[in-house]
């Protein structure tokens, strides 16, 4: 492990105005960090006017996350991560066009209780001009299992002002829907996703960084939602994403402004734009506040139908609100407070959608509390 004293001096020196412009050689994180996060994600109840049948109570999810990372020797780091989710609530089953022309949603009748857990292990090797990492994830739910692996690396050059990153990932998923025979669902199905990304980060000067990247993914297999009635989707989905971000540090204000844009496009016909702004403001040496706002807009998939197509005249159709055209706005606030080796984190986010064709669009509130311990 690199000398702690030197790292402390380096970290502090890089905060000096005019010194931070130059990055240092890639080294593993010096501290061992143990982090815990607990989040509550609560979807708003479905509006009574849009409810056709079932429960208006939508998902309420509690998420616990535990993460440990540590350097091993001077060239390696490992991280172990685990999360546990417990969810309850009802989900949209099908939609119909009501007599008055409005679409209404039939929800799954009873409240669903689900548990999901996953574990990720990753190893990273650091070189003088970059790093290379591998990770494996196992995710387990009673009706959904996924195994995935990823490799990624980055290389820094041009006076350490430019970083090139790339990675590939693959996931093998198995679905075994519950109550399959009772509701005439598929008994079991497979799905795979393979993706790759490449990005470049450029330090423009000591106050600004720009990053841009593209990624591509192909999902193949059973991409239909087995819990929705008469849902039928193609067996392949090719996805493309372009991201750009810009970071600007304002020395006198002790604040950093982040602006991010993301373009997503797939061959289902969904195209989306995401624009996000955040301000990382240091109030005191130990206290940071991060307000952020995110704007989202997407077009509908070609086979999206506001009301479930029971006749199935078309080869594909889905009334899944996630495939409809809609806009979303979310705003959040995060606080980080450091006392010695401990950092306390609190955040809240409110997400709201507007759209005309899908009545089941969600609005949600997410609250998170966390504690990091460095040692």
């Amino acid at each position: 492990m690199a000398c702690k004293r030197l790292l402390a001096l380096t970290t502090s020196a890089l905060a000096l105005p005019g010194v931070g412009g130059i990055a240092i050689a890639d080294t593993p994180p010096a501290d061992r960090v143990l982090s815990y996060r607990v989040s509550n994600y609560q979807e708003d109840d479905l509006a009574a006017s849009a409810l056709l049948a079932g429960s208006a109570e939508r998902y309420d999810i509690d998420i616990h996350q535990l993460r440990f990372s540590s350097a091993i020797g001077s060239d390696y780091s490992i991280a172990l991560e685990s999360s546990y989710e417990s969810m309850s609530g009802a989900s949209p089953w099908y939609t119909i066009q009501a007599v008055n022309g409005e679409t209404q949603v039939a929800m799954s009748g009873a409240t669903i209780y689900e548990k999901r857990q996953d574990v990720t292990a990753s190893l990273r090797r650091y070189f003088s001009a970059g790093n290379l990492g591998v990770s494996f994830t196992v995710s387990d739910e009673n009706d959904y299992k996924a195994n995935s692996a990823a490799v990624d690396g980055s290389y820094t050059f041009a006076n350490q002002a430019t970083t090139l990153s790339a990675g590939i990932a693959h996931s093998d998923d198995t679905l075994t829907p519950t109550d399959a025979e009772k509701f005439n669902r598929i008994l079991g199905a497979e799905k795979t996703t393979t993706s790759a990304f490449v990005s470049v980060t450029q330090i423009l000067n000591q106050f600004s960084i720009f990053q841009t990247g593209i990624s591509s993914a192909r999902a193949a297999g059973f991409l239909t939602d087995p819990y929705k009635l008469a849902d039928r989707r193609p067996e392949r989905r090719d996805q493309f994403t372009w991201t750009s971000s810009w970071r600007r540090y304002f020395r006198d204000q002790r604040a950093a402004f982040h602006a991010d844009y993301r373009l997503y496009d797939d061959d289902f016909g969904v195209r989306s734009h995401t624009l996000e702004f955040a301000l990382h403001k240091t109030l005191r040496r130990s206290l940071t506040v991060v307000p952020n706002v995110r704007l989202y807009r997407q077009t509908a998939a070609e086979f999206f139908t506001p009301a479930t197509d029971f006749v199935q005249a078309q080869p594909f159709n889905s009334s899944d609100y996630r495939l409809s055209d809609y806009d979303a706005v979310s705003a959040g606030l995060r606080l980080n407070y450091t006392i010695g080796d401990y950092t306390l984190m609190l955040s809240g986010e409110r997400y709201q959608t507007t759209g005309t064709s899908a009545p089941a669009l969600i609005d949600f509130t997410r609250l998170t509390a966390g504690l990091d311990f460095s040692f």
């Binding site: 030197l6 380096t10 000096l16 105005p17 005019g18 010194v19 050689a25 002790r254």
Partner: protein
């Protein structure tokens, strides 16, 4: 010896009480001067702001408050320097202390300025007002609950100025330049032909070169007692004072350290000097390249120093 390589221009100036120079590969002298002026202006700005000899400096304003007791709000640059000073204090177990300058009142490091070891009670009286832990630093407010203290950024600001010079020259499009602020050296990159800069390290006693360092990136800083030391009754006393005992540090004659940034090289060199006999252990722990001249004039080089 003067480097007469074509295209290499040296601009010499005086600042921060020392000889400074900028060596730049440029189209002509006018272009080199224009680039060097960026450094000269910034070093001048920092000197005007942080000199403890100038009554008009911001440091003097801080010291007026420190003298009387009270608090003062500081700007972002000063705040980051105070944060850095705080890190130096923490990482040196209290040896690298920006409040220790007060002890110089008991010692006179001018040649022949001191003929006897100061009185123990005089040192004790000063020691009561030395110690970063007495200062309440919560950015942007600096509070001195104890009156009669003094702050100085010796060992930090000159090195910081050298690092800023690197950023300024790089931004202005001078990737082949060497900045030398009285022995604190930084390069913006290799020489124009891609080769390293050769830097002579002097013998503390005779000024004769004892080693040549080849630097293509990063910085070199030297902390040495030979530049300003006094001799009392046959014993040599360094100008570096231990903030706990008030006595000069006994140990190496000089320490030269190579790091990515001059401010780090300078802090590590100063810290090693302050550690006295443990200097070598401290240097080895950092993994940085160094050259250590012991008081016996024996030289220890780290593996990476070449």
């Amino acid at each position: 010896m003067k480097d007469l390589t074509p295209g290499l221009f040296e601009v010499v100036f005086g600042a921060m009480g020392t000889r400074c120079s900028v060596s730049i590969f440029a189209a002509d002298m006018a272009a080199a001067r224009k680039l060097a002026q960026l450094v000269i202006d910034d070093v001048g700005r920092l000197e005007a702001k942080y000199s403890r000899y100038l009554d008009t400096s911001f440091l003097s304003r801080i010291n007026h408050v420190a003298q009387a007791g009270g608090e003062i709000e500081v700007d972002a640059e000063t705040a980051s320097l105070l944060d850095y000073a705080n890190t130096c204090y923490e990482q040196s177990e209290g040896l690298f202390d920006v409040t220790s300058g007060l002890l110089r009142r008991a010692w006179n490091f001018q040649p022949e300025g001191q003929t006897a070891v100061p009185d123990a009670t005089a040192i004790q009286a000063l020691l009561e007002r030395v110690g970063w832990h007495h200062v309440d630093w919560r950015a942007p407010r600096l509070r001195f609950p104890l009156a009669g203290m003094e702050l100085d950024f010796g060992g930090i600001v000159k090195e910081y100025a050298a690092d800023r010079a690197v950023s300024l020259l790089r931004e202005a499009g001078a990737p082949h330049a060497l900045i030398n602020l009285g022995g604190d050296l930084c390069v913006t990159g290799p020489r124009a032909d891609g080769s390293s800069w050769s830097i002579a390290i002097q013998n503390p006693e005779s000024d004769a070169p004892i080693d040549t360092l080849h630097l293509a990136s990063g910085a070199l800083a030297t902390s040495g007692s030979y530049a300003r030391c006094i001799e009392i009754e046959g014993l040599k006393y360094s100008h570096l004072l231990n903030p706990r005992t008030g006595m000069p540090v006994q140990g190496p004659l000089s320490v030269s350290v190579v790091a990515d940034h001059c401010v780090i090289a300078g802090s590590v060199a100063t810290l090693a000097m302050l550690k006295g006999r443990e200097a070598r252990q401290v240097l080895d722990d950092t993994g940085l390249a160094y050259l250590l001249v012991h008081d016996s004039l024996k030289i220890t080089r780290s593996a990476a120093f070449a």
